[in-house]
């Protein structure tokens, strides 16, 4: 291995790692607020890429149908639960949020498709279509069991991932897609060519992890979201609505998954089932960061990316084995070094 090759591998690893970092930050975000380890996160990123590709090809993406189906389901569940609790005066609001808004988004996208919009508009459309999915899934799947154990939530999350992969195949077909690069710029850095796309990914990862850090540590909404994670009952007594906190977290999270999906679409082929491995490697990164710290998750994910890049050079067949083996020493170190928080006490 020469220094040239090491530099190229390092850059490649940082680019891959930055994608994982975006997803890892989102995973941590949703975990700290709702205690759900949101496995389908990677799928949402992949669906964004597929949605964008469909829009580029002037086809209306299957995401639209998915949103409509989920919106109807969520509305039904919400109405039933409101009527059960006798909160009928809240019905109009529920209808607005769970039915009218998502359908409006799909409607706008469908109409905009007709006029053959430019790339910037298509990016916004793809993000708009993808954003409602996670909050709606939260309403349908996670809110009824919000007080369950982390293990229960994780199990449901895995099941949800498989359901989404199946739907992805139905809506997007089996073929991979690749979109046009967002920028064709490239620069020389220490004799290594760096593409603009790589820089975009790294910048996006930095900006998002910085913003989230500020949001959670310095704003009231952020603090209330964190309080929900620490103790749902306690935060309810303080006047915080856990359900709303969850929705905000999922919205933010989807937005990030969407951005990472848009960023990876031009640099590699995305399939309907590509999300799982991205999500899994991001999860390894998040665990390195202890599932609580955003900068930690970002650094961990970049580490995973770099490790993966060098591992593929040394032994491409054993690459994934090397990456996932990293978990074992990390988990041992974590369990020895950290004090165990007693979060699983029955309230």
């Amino acid at each position: 291995m020469t220094s040239d090759i090491a530099a190229i591998l390092g850059i490649d690893g940082i680019a891959t790692g930055a994608v994982y970092a975006l997803v890892a930050i989102g995973t941590v975000l949703i975990f700290t607020v709702t205690r759900v380890i949101f496995i389908p996160f990677g799928d949402i990123a992949a669906f964004t890429a597929l949605t964008l590709a469909a829009l580029d090809a002037k086809r209306f993406p299957g995401t639209g149908a998915l949103v409509v189906v989920l919106a109807c389901l969520a509305t039904l569940i919400e109405i039933i639960s409101l009527i059960r609790n006798g909160d009928t005066r809240l019905l109009p609001r529920a209808l607005l949020f769970y039915l009218v808004l998502p359908l409006a988004v799909v409607g706008i996208a469908w109409l905009t498709m007709r006029i053959d919009p430019p790339l910037a508009v298509r990016l916004v459309l793809a993000l708009m279509l993808i954003t409602p999915i996670a909050p709606l899934l939260d309403r349908i799947v996670f809110r009824p069991i919000a007080d369950g154990t982390v293990l229960l939530l994780l199990t449901v999350s895995v099941a949800l991932h498989f359901a989404l992969v199946g739907l992805g195949l139905l809506f997007f077909g089996p073929e991979g897609v690749r979109t046009e690069p967002l920028t064709s710029l490239s620069t020389e850095f220490a004799g290594v060519l760096i593409s603009g796309q790589t820089m975009l990914i790294v910048i996006a990862a930095l900006v998002f992890s910085g913003l989230l850090y500020l949001f959670f540590d310095f704003t009231l909404v952020g603090k209330s979201l964190r309080a929900t994670a620490v103790n749902r009952t306690g935060s309810r007594l303080m006047g915080i609505r856990p359900a709303r906190a969850g929705t905000i977290a999922y919205l933010l999270g989807s937005l990030m998954a969407g951005v990472s999906g848009i960023l990876i679409a031009p640099v590699n082929t995305v399939f309907y089932d590509s999300g799982f491995l991205i999500g899994l490697k991001a999860f390894v990164g998040a665990i390195v960061g202890g599932m609580t710290s955003y900068p930690g998750a970002a650094i961990g994910a970049v580490g995973v990316g770099i490790l993966e890049s060098f591992a593929s050079f040394q032994s491409s067949a054993l690459k994934d084995v090397i990456v996932f083996s990293l978990l074992i020493p990390v988990l041992i170190w974590r369990s020895l070094a950290s004090l165990h928080s007693e979060e699983e006490i029955e309230e």
């Binding site: 073929e175 690749r178 590699n268 082929t269």
Partner: protein
């Protein structure tokens, strides 16, 4: 009341027993409609539907076709094969889209003594006292042999190899290694990547460090384009070669300019309309395209649906001979069908002229392959 119920039950039972009474030939077909093999599994399925439209009866016997999805998972393929044999009592198995699943199915076929026509390349069959399985596709060794001959003709000496980290990647690599002495080439690298990988930069660096004249791609479908894209990013100027596994429309879209000029060995059906008139595959391949178009209202452009079609032709040809000695649905018929398949002589299909004999898995020769080059986004016949 009870009388009535009993009568009804008898009626229902009669309905279910009815198909078994008329001995029609039952075919169990497995493909991957989901999972990582779906991009080739779906064309396989469409191919069998077109073939069924092409020929629905044999000597007046109707054919019943049962299709199952294995989700690209070998254990599901095993379950499907067992279910088809034990519950549906099929006379023949055809499957499936991925090599590992096909090998799993073949084990079941050998154990339960049901003939099977494989539509994926299988390197080696499971050990069994008698042979029950034959494979339609050109073996990887032959696919690579034709490519290696072309490399020799193009004056390529040092070859870099990058392929999938699975059975298919192994088959192509071993085929290239086996061609080394005769074609005077040297395979310098053995780099692997997974279908879901997001980057092959590291592997390509290693390939290029070996300074190859040409690179051989052992991937399939859309993701086979990834090394080509990375090679062109890194400014590789040499030739690229591949196998028929790359040939599908999405490979061309995703590969774009980077895939331009790649030469692959493929069955003649890929370039049916460009074949000379006297070529054995010309007429039947055009017939196949017509029936596929009629069945699905889309043109066929891949080689996978054509394997299913050829499997059907082999079965139809063998069944005609087997029906003379036994009735469908019996063990005798299965044995007769196997013997008939294993004695197929000079049967022209859309991919090859088939000659099966006991002891050999495949029954194709060099007539089954042509070299095609991707020129301006279209596969062009390059004799």
């Amino acid at each position: 009341m009870r009388q009535k119920t009993l009568g009804l039950l008898a009626l229902v039972a009669g309905v279910f027993a009815a198909p078994a009474a008329q001995a029609d030939i039952t075919i169990g077909f497995v493909t991957s409609l989901s999972g990582n093999g779906a991009s080739i599994g779906i064309p396989y399925g469409r191919g069998i539907n077109a073939a069924y439209e092409y020929k629905k009866t044999i000597n007046g016997e109707t054919i019943r076709l049962i299709q199952l999805d294995d989700g690209s998972d070998p254990s599901a393929a095993t379950r499907n094969a067992r279910k088809l044999v034990e519950e549906e009592k099929v006379d023949l198995l055809i499957g499936t889209a991925t090599t590992p699943s096909t090998i799993a199915m073949a084990a079941v076929a050998s154990e339960l003594k049901v003939p099977m026509i494989s539509i994926s390349p299988v390197g080696k069959l499971p050990d069994s006292p008698e042979q029950w399985v034959v494979a339609v596709p050109q073996p990887a060794s032959l696919l690579v042999k034709i490519v290696a001959d072309r490399m020799k003709r193009d004056g390529m000496k040092n070859i870099g190899y990058i392929g999938f980290s699975d059975a298919w990647g192994d088959l192509v690599y071993n085929g290239a290694k086996a061609a080394e002495p005769t074609d005077d080439i040297k395979v310098q690298t053995n780099e692997r990547y997974a279908r879901t990988d997001t980057s092959v930069t590291a592997q390509i660096l290693k390939v290029m460090a070996a300074r190859p004249d040409a690179v051989l791609i052992g991937g399939s479908g859309t993701q086979g384009a990834l090394p080509l894209i990375t090679l062109s990013e890194r400014g590789f100027k040499g030739n690229t070669y591949g196998t028929v596994a790359l040939v599908n429309p999405d490979f061309v879209t995703v590969g774009g300019k980077a895939a331009e000029g790649i030469q692959v060995s493929a069955g003649p059906v890929i370039v049916a309309e460009q074949l000379p008139d006297e070529h054995f595959a010309k007429k039947i391949a055009l017939d196949f395209r017509a029936v596929y178009q009629k069945t699905h209202n889309i043109p066929t452009t891949d080689g996978f649906s054509a394997y299913s079609f050829d499997a059907w032709l082999i079965f139809a040809n063998a069944a005609e001979r087997a029906l003379k000695t036994a009735k469908p649905g019996t063990t005798e018929f299965r044995t007769a069908l196997r013997d008939a398949i294993l004695s197929t002589k000079e049967l022209p299909g859309v991919h090859a002229v088939y000659n099966f004999k006991p002891g050999a898995v495949t029954g194709v020769d060099e007539r089954s392959l042509v070299v095609v080059r991707l020129t301006g986004g279209v596969w062009k016949y390059a004799p």
